[in-house]
Symmetry: C2
Subunit: 431 residues, 2 copies
């Protein structure tokens, strides 16, 4: 196709697993992309840390440089796939200031500096796209930002980290312990050598901040996201939950409460018939509850070079079309300015598992502690202690209660003489 | 908020269940919408068929008129929610010609005239939005059109009609027959008094044409969509399928094949562990398989006044922002120009259920018929005939075969003397 337009100059920062796939698709699908955009997309340079590193044949050698700033000059669109804050943050600001639109898959950067960069882009009449930063290939940013722009979202709840979902799913379906499941995830490449960012919930917290910020049009600093990882979860816990009709998932949750928002990442019980319970392996899904639209779910591969590259190319086609025709500037995404409240403002159901000494009056004593904080108990299940075991296991499911009140109960219960230990406190969602 | 822009004038054609909700949300959420858009959205008129009809308080009486053309004049954005081809088609053309952007939820019109209207809008520098035409509140048009714009979609497969999914789900979970389930759906308002459009698959065929047209960038006339309804499905069939590990769903499927596309709507067996199998009640979901993105699913309420209004308002915010700032014109959506082939070009698995006389050599004779067309049989299950019943039931599952070859087998089998009747032929997807 001959186009009336000059080629659109695309600079690529980073050539890891996502960057290599983006370069390959740009080159392999050159003609088809030109038809979709209405002008050719020309890859003008690929900035890498080490120009001597071994890499596949996807990227023409003459486009590779270690001088990232040099390829920003004259670029119409800059794709940042380096990850991390430095130097990505400075390079994106330079690119925006030089008049380019920017596409990034950098969740850490968007969670930390997203609103600042969006404001900068808005002032400059440029665009910042980051569909690939959350949920890999799953279109979730655009639906939140555009499709639901006329609705009021009350809650976003997602499985946004494939590594932890894979680990929990293995512990569930194969009854293996956390360490074995983690090791297998590392062998398969689902988990990093240092898995901290995934298993401690840091990655999910970044994504929770991004999703909540978009859904509620508010500034959600990642430091205000309550975060718990999955390292203390046992496969026995998961099996017990399944028998009771629940799946145990690491969820990222953002929701409106009375005075603002609560945003939190933690292991969560959800009913087995909830759509999120069926999300297996390394898949991701984001569940949205909106006032008019009702319940929506977006499901797909949350990571992977090819998958993330698909989201980057979707943004690239949008950016290129806008480049040709102009288009609406970004509205400031924080006009609602809701406060992000501490996790104690959460109201939900809780499941508390206790080891208690097997003697008369224990149940009444524990029940009294809940009543004292006005927390209503829905069910109590007591397991008979095994031979020679002095302690029974008590599993208590509450009605909806405030997390602040629940914390007080747990504190006082843990001092109760009949209580040997508080085994776990899990939040229950999706009922 | 004071805006530097004059209000954006919005005309509404139609005030049924969706229109009334759109009017309500526009008025109730005036301030919030103004913040999101950057200018006020002013409802300037609501065209209705009968101005005397009783309606809720959502719509100010002085905005109501029976003269649709009169409110087009001076409108910046026209929302068409009348349904049907006439007069919606003419009014949309008039609106586009007068310089307005148009939003519609009219699936019949988009399936029949969508590409023509998109081309017209493109020539005029206007936009046509129709997120609400498929999947109610589920954002599916925008993800296909934008998020996956840089990817290659190989298959779209959806539960796109809530009425039939509700009926099949009731037949499945409550073991009721088709007529009872239909009657209940009518009582609950899920099915119309005349349910033909739903139960015969016409509604799903319109949506299949729209989805396939977008996914494959090709012109997909609704007449070329192979269509079968659910009226001949029995609850025994659904129960038997479930025992064998399958759910029976009415699916709309579009897929690339060797020489083009096949687009079809028919009852389908899918494995119970497939994400689409878990879509219950009147919910809808669209499953997409793309070369880079892999498997994606979009899930939510497929109908309902409020839900559809949410999708319309999402389009309205996009249209209003574009109105303020300009934006990329619509690319012609049919540049790939793939041929829509007859259903015989489909390659899939089939399940054939036969009543056969209970005598030696029957199985060999039937197996021979499949072998003669080079169709490989995966499993055969034979049920023992009941007391006094002369016929046994044979359930045959094939490997992947062409639908054309399968038709030949079915034709010759039905003439086989040992075959009492061909009970059903079902396609099996999602394995």
């Amino acid at each position: 196709m001959q186009s009336e337009y000059r080629p659109i100059r695309v600079a690529l920062l980073g050539a890891g697993s996502v960057g290599a796939q983006v370069a390959r698709l740009l080159i392999e699908n050159r003609e088809e992309l030109a038809k979709r955009v209405g002008a050719e997309l020309q890859l003008v340079g690929v900035a890498v840390r080490d120009t001597k590193a071994k890499r596949g044949a996807e990227i023409p050698q003459d486009l590779i440089t270690s001088d990232a700033e040099s390829i920003l000059t004259g670029a119409d669109i800059v794709i940042e796939l380096m990850g991390g804050i430095d130097p990505a943050y400075d390079l994106i600001k330079k690119a925006l200031n030089s008049g380019a639109d920017v596409i990034t898959a950098n969740k850490a950067l968007i969670a930390a500096k997203g609103n600042e960069l969006i404001d900068l882009a808005q002032q400059l009449g440029a665009q910042l796209y980051y569909e690939a930063a959350v949920g890999g290939a799953i279109p979730i940013i655009r639906p939140l930002r555009e499709s639901l722009a006329g609705d009021k979202i009350n809650r976003v709840m997602g499985i946004v980290n494939g590594t932890t979902n894979y680990i929990l799913d293995q512990m569930d379906s194969k009854n293996v312990d956390f360490q074995s499941a983690l090791k297998e995830a590392q062998v398969l490449g689902y988990a990093e050598a240092d898995p901290t960012a995934d298993i401690e919930g840091f990655d999910a917290a970044s994504k929770a901040a991004i999703l909540a910020s978009l859904a509620f049009h508010s500034d959600v600093p990642v430091e205000k996201v309550h975060r718990e990882g999955i390292t203390s979860i046992t496969s026995a816990q998961i099996q017990t939950a399944r028998q009771a009709g629940y799946a145990l998932k690491l969820l990222a949750i953002g929701e409106r409460v009375d005075q603002g928002l609560v945003v939190r990442v933690h292991p969560t019980l959800i009913p087995l018939n909830h759509p999120l319970a069926a999300v297996r392996g390394a898949y991701n899904a984001v569940f949205v509850e909106a006032e008019s639209a009702g319940r929506l779910m977006f499901y797909g591969a949350g990571a992977g070079g090819k998958q993330t590259a698909s989201a980057v190319l979707g943004d690239l086609v949008s950016a290129a079309k806008r480049h040709l025709a102009g288009g609406p500037g970004l509205a400031s995404s924080t006009h609602a300015n809701l406060n992000v409240l501490p996790v104690q403002s959460t109201r939900t159901r809780f499941q508390i598992t206790l080891r208690v000494s097997d003697q008369p009056g224990v149940l009444a004593s524990i029940a009294g502690e809940f009543a004292a904080q006005n927390i209503s108990v829905e069910t109590v299940a007591q397991s008979v202690p095994g031979d020679g075991e002095p302690a029974a296991v008590l599993t208590i499911m509450t009605h909806i209660a405030s997390e602040g009140d629940l914390e007080k109960v747990v504190e006082s219960i843990s001092k109760n003489k009949a209580v040997v230990s508080v085994e776990s406190v899990l939040r229950v969602e999706g009922i």
